[in-house]
């Protein structure tokens, strides 16, 4: 008769990898009878003997809560494999041994494959194989690293040994008090039933009956063991009366204590001190009162870093794209005879101004993702999520809302889909509603360009203020809606797993930075390119034949300029009632980055002279390289200046900042676009002092108004057209009201 080996273990412990390593290609995949759970069988050649290996579904215990648990338990109890290999994650011994002790109690010869030992060693965990084997009743314990096929030979040898000399671990969880007494009484009764002893171990059966395990009870009923079941029912009542607790919970509780004792004697955890240090830091950063200010201070630092430190590189990319690339493309077009052709305008004022205007912000995004990557990799972002989650629950929002809302800082589209993790429809709608106020990554270039133009070195504060305002508007809206139209039960309590702090890994951070920035680059080459070309066309078509010919019309008299001009008066109370701002907001509905590309195109037409390079190519390239070197030095300067700037937040403290290139760092017109914005906003606000206020109002509108079409379409798909329109209307109204409030109050306070 063919001997059978079963592989059992918790999910994700490398069971399938070991199964593949043992059986190679000699596998058969099917389903467990009557179940949709996959059944994998394979053959292992042991000398002359062929052994059947069965991969059991991953399970944490042998109770009857899931189909996987029932399949595993029924297979071991009814099919009685010759031996069971318990695959254990060495990095999480406590959790895995809970199942191992149950397997041993079933009376099977068990071999422990201590897998993932590479990870456990890296974490400084030392497991005594001898000690563990001893505490588990003398069963073999073998170290393996399944994905590297390490320890496989030892495992095969252990299998051969167990098949030759079957040895069952002689352990039994020690149950104390009234529970222990009742188990003992039942066990004695079971030992009198020889028909049952063929299938079950008395101790295991007694605990299962007391747990009220329906599978076991049905099996006993079919065997006519009514008297035994009656005894178990009485025993359960006595235990409940004696302890006030469900016997099943008492059994699990004492089994955990039993496992703890095994782990205590077999496992050394030399890194307890590190965990304690993490805990000490957590006491401060997740503190009920200090946690939130610390989070906001760190976010302020992130935006200082993002806006100011990336500034020199932003300038350099601007010089490179709008200078070098622009000059030499113009030269090239002229060289091939397209100098005065509409193609020249399309490429120079459409593609380069539009796409280039957005690509300028790649350094900003890289620095943002660098800062977020460091926070994330160090383990702080988990703490930030914890702190924010607490605030959201305090405001009455659902606990799971925090995830979609924080995802909203990246992009609103996945944030809307992330609401699927919420079961309640009201909570889903409310969360999606609020996620749109979380400032997505696409809005960042807008804040940066306005911040640099109007606030210079304090531009990071504008960026921070926008993110902060988004959170505040979301929380207020959530609070009001939760207590009016979306009234539901209070949020449920929760526990959050906080990973230990660690030193960020540069390679991981670089991967994150690159992957996230890649998305932006792809968008620039697709959506923004398309919009730039379409916008160029609309700006080239005259609104009326009297206003000029195609591609010769003034931007304000173009179709785009005139239509935008019709809407512009609405924004007059907010200080930015120009056709340029309005037109940018309209195209921004397609994608928020388009606001910057539209402005670049509009103002490029006004500021770019038809420039053709006069310096030799090599000289021009050398100049770009020198500028790059200067950008590196200025970046270092800005990074160091974060320290005095942060200290200067303390009242009456003023520390000087580094200034490597005084003239350069004081220049206001960081990019060509910024200079145009200063003039344009001073004009719409009515004074140059009012320009910055109008700029802030514009940014507030950008933050709060309709998310992009992709997000709107995701909302329609998830919640229907009616809800989508409600969202659009609400965001437009609140954005307009907030922008007007900022401009009007700002004028009273500052002018």
């Amino acid at each position: 008769m063919t001997k059978t080996i079963a592989l059992a273990g918790n999910p994700n412990v490398g069971k399938s990898t070991l199964f593949n390593a043992l059986t190679g290609s000699r596998q058969h995949v099917g389903n467990w009878p009557g179940k949709t759970v996959e059944k994998k069988e394979g053959r292992l050649q042991l000398g002359d003997e062929e052994v059947l290996v069965v991969d059991l579904p991953g399970t944490y215990s042998l109770t009857a809560y899931s189909i996987e648990e029932i399949i595993t338990r029924d297979f071991i109890v009814n099919e009685k494999p010759t031996a069971v290999i318990a695959v254990v994650n060495a990095a999480n011994l406590d959790r895995n041994l809970y199942l191992v002790t149950q397997l041993i109690e079933l009376g099977m010869p068990v071999i422990v494959a201590l897998n993932m030992t590479d990870i456990s060693k890296r974490r400084g965990l030392h497991i005594s194989l001898m000690g563990l084997s001893e505490r588990l009743g003398g069963i073999p314990v073998v170290e393996t690293v399944g994905n590297r096929s390490e320890g496989l030979e030892d495992l095969v040898q252990a299998i051969a040994l167990v098949l030759k000399y079957p040895h069952t671990g002689n352990i039994q969880t020690t149950y104390s008090g009234i529970l222990g007494e009742e188990i003992q009484n039942l066990k004695s009764e079971i030992e009198l039933r020889e028909d049952l002893l063929e299938t079950y171990r008395p101790g295991w059966l007694a605990t299962k009956m007391l747990e009220g395990d329906q599978g076991v009870i049905s099996a006993l009923e079919s065997r006519g063991a009514e008297d035994l079941l009656e005894s178990a029912r009485d025993a359960r009542i006595r235990i409940e009366e004696g302890t006030g607790e469900d016997p099943e919970i008492l059994i699990a509780d004492q089994r955990y204590q039993f496992v703890d004792r095994i782990v205590e004697s077999a496992l050394e955890r030399p890194r307890e001190t590190i965990i304690t240090r993490s805990e000490k830091v957590d006491e401060i950063v997740t503190h009920r009162f200090w946690g939130l200010p610390i989070f906001f201070l760190l976010m302020w630092l992130v935006f200082q870093f993002t806006s100011n430190v990336s500034g020199p590189f932003l300038d350099w990319v601007d010089i490179f794209i709008n200078g070098f690339i622009y000059r030499w493309t113009g030269w090239g077009l002229e060289y091939i005879g397209l100098g005065d052709h509409w193609v020249d305008s399309l490429i120079m004022d459409g593609v380069i101004a539009g796409v280039g205007g957005v690509l300028v912000f790649v350094p900003v995004l890289l620095f943002l993702y660098l800062a977020l990557g460091v926070l994330e990799d160090s383990g702080y972002m988990a703490r930030a999520a914890f702190v924010m989650d607490r605030v959201m629950r305090w405001m009455g929002l659902h606990g799971k809302s925090f995830l979609p809302m924080i995802v909203g800082f990246g992009c609103t589209v996945p944030a809307v889909y992330a609401t699927r993790t919420l079961e309640n429809e009201k909570d889903r709608k409310l969360t999606a509603f609020l996620a749109t106020f979380m400032s997505c990554g696409a809005r960042l270039p807008i804040y940066v360009v306005f911040g640099a133009a109007f606030f210079g070195a304090a531009s990071g504060s504008l960026v921070f203020a926008m993110y902060f305002l988004g959170i505040v508007v979301a929380l207020i809206t959530g609070y009001v809606m939760k207590n009016t139209i979306y009234r539901s039960s209070p949020p449920a309590p929760f526990v959050m797993e906080l990973p230990p702090y660690r030193i960020p890994h540069p390679k991981d951070i670089w991967t994150q930075m690159w992957e996230r920035t890649q998305g932006f680059l792809v968008k620039s080459g697709t959506v923004i390119l398309g919009v730039s070309v379409a916008l160029w066309l609309l700006m080239a078509i005259p609104a009326h034949p009297d206003k000029g010919l195609f591609n010769e019309v003034q931007a304000g008299d173009s179709l785009f300029g005139r239509v935008s001009g019709l809407i512009a008066p609405i924004f007059k109370p907010a200080g930015f009632g120009s056709w340029q701002s309005t037109g940018s907001l309209v195209t921004g509905i397609l994608a928020k980055e388009v606001i910057v590309s539209t402005m670049s195109q509009i103002y490029a037409g006004e500021s770019h002279p038809p420039e053709v390079s006069v310096v030799p190519f090599g000289e021009d390239l050398a100049s770009v390289s020198v500028d790059f070197g200067r950008a590196v030095l200025l970046t270092a300067q800005e990074a160091l200046n974060i320290i005095p700037r942060t200290i200067n937040l303390i009242p009456f403290v003023n520390i000087g900042e580094l200034d490597f290139f005084p003239a350069e760092s004081r220049k206001v017109d960081t990019t060509r676009l910024e200079g145009s914005l200063i003039n344009a906003y001073a004009a719409t606000a009515g004074s140059s002092a009012g320009g910055p206020i109008a700029a802030v109002a514009f940014n507030v509108f950008v933050l709060l108004y309709i998310p992009c079409v992709s997000a709107v379409s995701a909302m329609r798909q998830e919640f229907g057209q009616r809800w989508m329109w409600a969202q659009i209307t609400y965001t437009l109204v609140i954005a307009w009201a907030a922008a007007v409030l900022v401009f009007q109050v700002g004028q009273i306070l500052f002018l």
């Binding site: 109770t63 008492l250 797993e497």
Partner: protein
């Protein structure tokens, strides 16, 4: 009557409406973090707690789970409606 550690843990979570970290929970109940985690998993299996997946379902988005904008979030255990009905029925000896 002394309560089981499992029960104490569930009650502790239920009485923390502002949320609690796993570390705080373990420290306050005198457990190791992995012990506390195992006990939470027990209540998840019993349906009294729900493990909230840190990865949002982005099935409708073209980028899906490969979205470059997503940030990793920690796992969360949340009390379910079932937990509020956890008190075992007291049966009288005559029943």
């Amino acid at each position: 009557m002394a309560k089981s550690k499992l029960r104490l843990l569930l009650e502790y979570v239920e009485e923390s409406p502002g949320g609690i970290s796993l570390q705080e929970l373990a420290r306050d109940l005198g457990l190791s973090i992995s012990q506390a985690e195992n006990m939470l998993e027990y209540w998840v299996r019993k349906g009294h707690l729900q493990a909230v997946s840190p990865a949002p379902d982005c099935a409708g988005c073209a980028s899906g789970s490969k979205c470059s904008l997503l940030i990793d979030f920690p796992s969360t255990y949340q009390v379910t409606e079932k937990a509020k009905l956890h008190i075992p029925e007291k049966r009288l000896p005559c029943q």
